[in-house]
Symmetry: C2
Subunit: 244 residues, 2 copies
């Protein structure tokens, strides 16, 4: 049943989708829209070094027809401690170190997904939505603790204990449609749903040239993205800086 035929009882059910401007969350938004949710996209301005992500998120939300798009400012970046928010910490290139103990990348931002999901929950409760969507996946949870399925399950339980809507209706579900997917699976799924990945931004350390943010091609995020397109057999629309 197509979400556009008006017969899907969930057609107008509101959902909150965490949108970063990257490839994964763009795919999640496309999947949630396809499932018939009226998607309220939520991006975070958390002091990340590169604001191109937020521009990308807005473009993606508009292109995929989200019901609303918000950028929520949350300055956990001011606490410091991550290569993604702290100018004093270098973004690792070409797999040059950058892994802490337990193989957690130094691009880890303290408690990021917990903070983001908590704010998304507050928005969901206010909107009367019971469904949250987040693009965590197999690639992420090899490194980031807050991308693992056991974290998501625990968060969902906490959410239902934390809120009026949870207590009254035991109502929140955290959807992770990409959870078992590799980057190539994600790219194939999104391509089938018409996602234009040229709009998305993955690079941790882009080169700005002529007002455009070109991907460095060398950080972990670029490497994973490029290999994903190769493996998926989909042409990579990413604009890379010269060295690529």
């Amino acid at each position: 049943m197509s979400p556009s035929d008006g017969l899907n009882p969930d057609h107008h059910r509101p959902g909150v989708v965490l949108l970063s401007g990257g490839l994964d969350s763009a795919t999640v938004l496309a999947i949630a829209q396809k499932q018939g949710f009226a998607c309220h996209a939520l991006a975070f301005d958390y002091g990340q070094r590169h604001r191109h992500e937020l521009d990308a998120a807005r473009r993606v939300a508009e292109a995929l027809g989200a019901a609303s798009f918000r950028v929520f400012p949350i300055d956990t970046g001011s606490f410091g401690g991550s290569a993604l928010t702290d100018p004093g910490v270098a973004v690792p290139k070409d797999r040059s170190g950058g892994r802490a103990v337990n193989d957690i990348p130094i691009t880890y931002v303290p408690a990021r997904n917990l903070v983001f999901l908590s704010v998304a929950l507050a928005l969901a409760e206010t909107l009367g939505a019971h469904d949250l969507f987040i693009g965590v996946n197999e690639v992420d949870y090899s490194g980031y603790p807050d991308c693992r399925p056991e974290f998501i399950a625990s968060f969902q339980q906490t959410a239902n204990l934390a809120t009026k809507a949870g207590v009254e209706r035991n109502g929140f579900t955290v959807h992770t449609p990409l959870i078992g997917m590799g980057k190539d699976d994600i790219i194939r799924a999104g391509t089938a749903l018409g996602v234009d990945y040229a709009m998305t931004h993955s690079c941790y350390d882009p080169v700005v040239a002529g007002g455009e943010a070109l991907a460095c091609g060398r950080c972990d995020s670029c490497r994973l993205r490029r290999r994903g397109f190769e493996r998926a057999g989909v042409a990579d629309p990413t604009k890379y800086a010269g060295t690529a």
Copy 2:
């Protein structure tokens, strides 16, 4: 062993204390300081109608000798839906209604404690602290879902799954030193620790006169506070507006 004799091995262990400017969290800060933690006090500017709370929080942090004090802006109030942040929703007086189904007050703010604790966790992880303190108590959790012990326990589990520090050392503890206490117990405990409750602010709907925020004496928060002092046998230092 006194925390000031320098022999307590926990003497300089950092902790993060949620501080609202109210009576409960001031007492928690005093207890955590007494236990020898170097307390980093964290207040939130979440769009609450009355900023006197934040002034009170700063005064309390300074008076009790906190290691640091931060006001973290987080605009979940912009989502709407609570009498504490939405000018379109009246604060109930003299127990005049104001209870939703399941007896959750309309002063409930969606997912507030989950959002606050998540940000506190991000700060704790950045500071290398493993201890969070929050002033939830018996009075609160009769009404607010996110003040119940089962919520706190679930949050602690989620926190340890969400974070690098949790994964590496299973490290976070959420302390709720007031959890079994009534308002009178809290006031007695704080008084014994030298808390000056005149600095604290509890009223949901204060009357500003001569630059001072006078308590209305009639909202739920004022009623609980006043009765607490009566039952504790401690003189109430609160300045009430005329009608009191």
